[in-house]
């Protein structure tokens, strides 16, 4: 019998909860470190919004590289549907579907990848390994490779709703990497157990199975990862030339096997995993330098995604454009870390995670009329133009009632993404339901929470509310403050002036953070001083057992906030100010209403 100490060791090891997956851990830690650095740089009013974009710079070079080349077709004839992903469960791999509504494609830095809980199980049970999905051009059917544990691959189809799974080619030829012809009439794949490793081609009903043999002296190795061109005229695949120790090149051929040519002719560079842009003008592929792109007719390569784009050593693989061409999607993976599907939007400078999964396929949704979904009809609030995504809160104006609004202007009768659209603040000072004055546009309305009505406190005690508007970030809120006047109706951002040069906050529009993260908190509160009411911004750095508190006192009159004091104190953490569920006695609205009352809660 082991000693009590050993028994305790064993019992504790068994009992200790495990972390929730190491997926993006290195990346998360890096982002957290940058966030802390940004908070320090920004001082007590280090705005959450600044912090959120701290990592964006890393990808600027990336975005530039991406933008200089030819861009995919601008008018999509196909929309993006669900994302089918292959996810590891212990030793097995099953396919899941992430529906369009659960795809966060407008995420700034810090977004989390959708996990299985956001997805529907498509197929897979027990020790099945269901991998390498490919969705038919009509979006109805998923082709995939099925392995019984470590067995060779067979080719299966299943309807996108999970019904009618059927095997169409058995495992004797060990199938990999299926790709649909653009008319949906054929599926090509790599057949590694057939001598000389040709590409296989079969009808979706399992008939007409045949092989395309490349009898070129140039090709020696297996023909891998085929991709059918959008116009159906050619197939690109990866294969090593026969000369010496040459590494894999990309090859292009007609589906009948004629017209074979070496697209890259780079014996010292290994090119694999080719994929077509939806407009057929270029081909992206994987090399040791990341994901690159070349024109479909051949030419010089351009890096789209460098090796380790998130700085954590994970390398990009398996590129594919979204069906509408708006996103280059790829998998980041490294040994021992969960693989994640990442997205690089066209024209954006930021890659971000979309979903768990080490293999994926987009479901194309052929256009059947208007691509965009009109937003629900909103009253135009007397503005003369349609608006959407309206949030509001009651305000007080010289002791009578009004309403403050935050809204997005519609574009062509549709509601743009908040990050793309024009977001404004408006006030109805008479209570007739019409907006009498607006201000904006608000610059940083981040998805998914966007800009919201935050609170309407009367911070200077003049009987009229000031209007606080928020944008939500990963760790809290950035808040703007606006001043309202009734006659004539006007709404103005409150501007900081610092006549004494105290320098604790920058002059310009008044913005402050509302955040309570590990080691740091910031917010604002009202107080009184000898010569009237003050509005005090606080920043708290908590270093057990004490807190460094930086305070900036403002006197607000009309649309001007004058810095009248700045101080620094060190207090026990329990006595440090904390943001809570109200601002100067006014309740928080919108998602911030859930902000905990940190000063009270234990």
């Amino acid at each position: 019998m082991p000693s009590i100490d050993d028994q305790l060791r064993t019992r504790m090891r068994e009992a200790a909860p495990r972390p929730a997956g190491a997926g993006d851990l290195v990346q998360r830690l890096g982002a957290r470190k940058r966030r802390r650095a940004s908070l320090r740089r920004a001082g007590t009013v280090g705005l959450v919004v600044v912090v959120l974009f701290g990592t964006a710079g890393v990808f600027l070079a990336l975005g530039r590289a991406f933008n200089t080349g030819r861009t995919p077709a601008e008018t999509p004839t196909v929309r993006n549907g669900a994302l089918v992903v292959s996810i590891a469960n212990e030793d097995s791999y099953w396919l899941y579907v992430l529906p369009p509504g659960k795809q966060d494609l407008s995420s700034p830095d810090g977004a989390a990848a959708a996990n299985q809980e956001a997805m529907q199980h498509l197929i897979g049970r027990g020790a099945d390994r269901d991998v390498q999905p490919a969705v038919s051009p009509d979006g109805t059917t998923v082709a995939f490779v099925h392995h019984d544990l470590n067995g060779p691959g067979s080719l299966w189809l299943v309807n996108i709703d999970g019904s009618d799974p059927r095997q169409i080619v058995g495992s004797s030829i060990d199938i990999a990497s299926p790709t649909w012809s653009p008319d949906g009439a054929w599926i090509a794949f790599s057949a590694s157990r057939v001598e000389t490793t040709p590409l296989g081609v079969v009808r979706p009903d399992g008939t007409d199975l045949h092989y395309i043999l490349f009898r070129s002296p140039g090709i020696e190795g297996p023909s891998m990862t085929p991709a059918w061109s959008p116009d159906g005229s050619s197939i690109v695949f990866s294969s090593a030339p026969s000369s010496g120790d040459a590494l894999a090149d990309l090859w292009l051929a007609s589906p009948d096997g004629t017209g074979l040519r070496d697209l890259t002719q780079t014996p010292t560079v290994d090119e694999t995993d080719p994929t077509w842009s939806p407009d057929g003008t270029s081909i992206a592929f994987v090399t040791a330098d990341g994901i690159e792109r070349i024109p479909a007719e051949g030419g010089s390569a351009q890096v789209l995604v460098p090796t380790s784009p998130t700085g954590d050593g994970r390398v990009p693989t398996s590129p594919a454009w979204s069906p509408d061409g708006a996103y280059l999607t790829f998998v980041l993976q490294a040994p021992l870390l969960a693989a994640t599907v990442y997205v690089l939007p066209t024209g954006s400078s930021d890659v971000f995670p979309l979903a768990q999964g080490f293999g994926f396929a987009w479901q194309p949704v052929p256009a059947t009329g208007r691509a965009a979904t009109p937003s629900p009809t909103q009253a135009d609030l007397g503005l003369g133009y349609p608006v959407c995504r309206v949030s509001s809160m009651p305000i007080t104006i010289a002791a009578s009632s009004g309403t403050a609004y935050v809204f997005t202007k519609e574009i062509n009768e549709t509601c743009p993404k908040a990050s793309d659209g024009t977001n404004l603040v408006g006030v109805d000072v008479t209570g007739d339901g019409n907006i009498d004055a607006t201000s904006g546009p608000l610059p940083d309305c981040f998805s998914p929470v966007r800009c919201e009505a935050f609170a309407a406190p009367d911070v200077n005690g003049d009987g009229t509310s000031e209007i606080a508007i928020s944008t939500a970030g990963a760790d809290g809120y950035g808040v703007w403050l606006f001043a309202v006047s009734a006659s004539p109706p006007a709404l103005e951002p409150i501007t900081v002036v610092d006549p004494q040069g105290l320098g604790s906050i920058p002059p310009g529009p008044l913005r402050f953070g509302w955040a309570d993260v590990v080691g740091h908190a910031e917010g604002a509160r009202c107080g009184t001083s000898a010569d009237g009411g003050t509005f005090t911004l606080f920043g708290v750095d908590k270093l057990d057992p004490n807190a460094d508190v930086q305070l900036t006192d403002l006197r607000i009159a009309g649309a001007t906030a004058t810095v009248v004091g700045a101080s620094h104190e060190r207090v026990p953490i329990a006595e440090a100010p904390a943001p809570g569920s109200e601002l100067c006695g006014a309740p928080l609205h919108g998602s911030a209403a859930n902000f905990p009352d940190a000063a009270v809660a234990k």
Binding site: S3, R11, A16
Partner: protein, 169 residues
């Protein structure tokens, strides 16, 4: 700390440290948060040229300290709303619940000492150093914790020679 070290640390020590803090606080999500924060602080320090002699010990202690913050729980709850990837459901097991309950009965300090000793494998000397207390105090807390855990978990004393050696390493 370079990336290779960090990755190795995350692979080798991170799960154990999260488990340790979670056993002390009873909350796996906030434990992860505390350990991550501690690692980031260690990372920052090494970039400033400070040397952290025993990273494991340092991170364990800082994470334990951080996890005391009453605000952490609030933050985790709030952030869980839009951002955090949900933790996979944990299979509840009788054993796990027993150990967690037995630990929960202990005063916080004893709980920390027991977990640092048995789960993180720190010596009593290392624990004392990190808690800025004497080794004698740690030993007495450990002995109390050990007695309580053994009784609550019905562990039978057998070959207990380790108790007189290992605790002094």
């Amino acid at each position: 700390m370079d990336e290779v070290e960090l990755r190795e640390f995350l692979r080798e020590r991170y799960p154990r440290l999260v488990g340790a803090v979670a056993l002390v606080t009873g909350d796996a999500a906030s434990a992860e948060d505390a350990v991550q924060e501690a690692i980031v602080r260690a990372w920052e320090r090494t970039e400033r040229g400070e040397q952290i002699v025993a990273l494991d010990r340092w991170v364990a202690a800082v994470a334990m300290n951080l996890s005391r913050s009453r605000l952490r729980r609030l933050r985790v709850e709030r952030l869980a709303r839009p951002r955090l990837v949900a933790a996979p459901p944990v299979q509840p097991s009788g054993d796990r619940i027993d150990v967690a309950r037995a630990l929960a009965d202990l005063p916080r300090r004893q709980r920390e000492v027991a977990v640092l000793r048995y789960l993180v494998d720190l010596s009593t000397e290392e624990i004392a150093k990190q808690m800025h207390t004497s080794e004698g105090t740690v030993k007495s807390q450990l002995s109390k914790a050990r007695a309580h855990l053994a009784e609550t978990l019905s562990l039978v004393e057998d070959n207990d020679e380790e108790n007189s050696h290992a605790e002094h390493r």
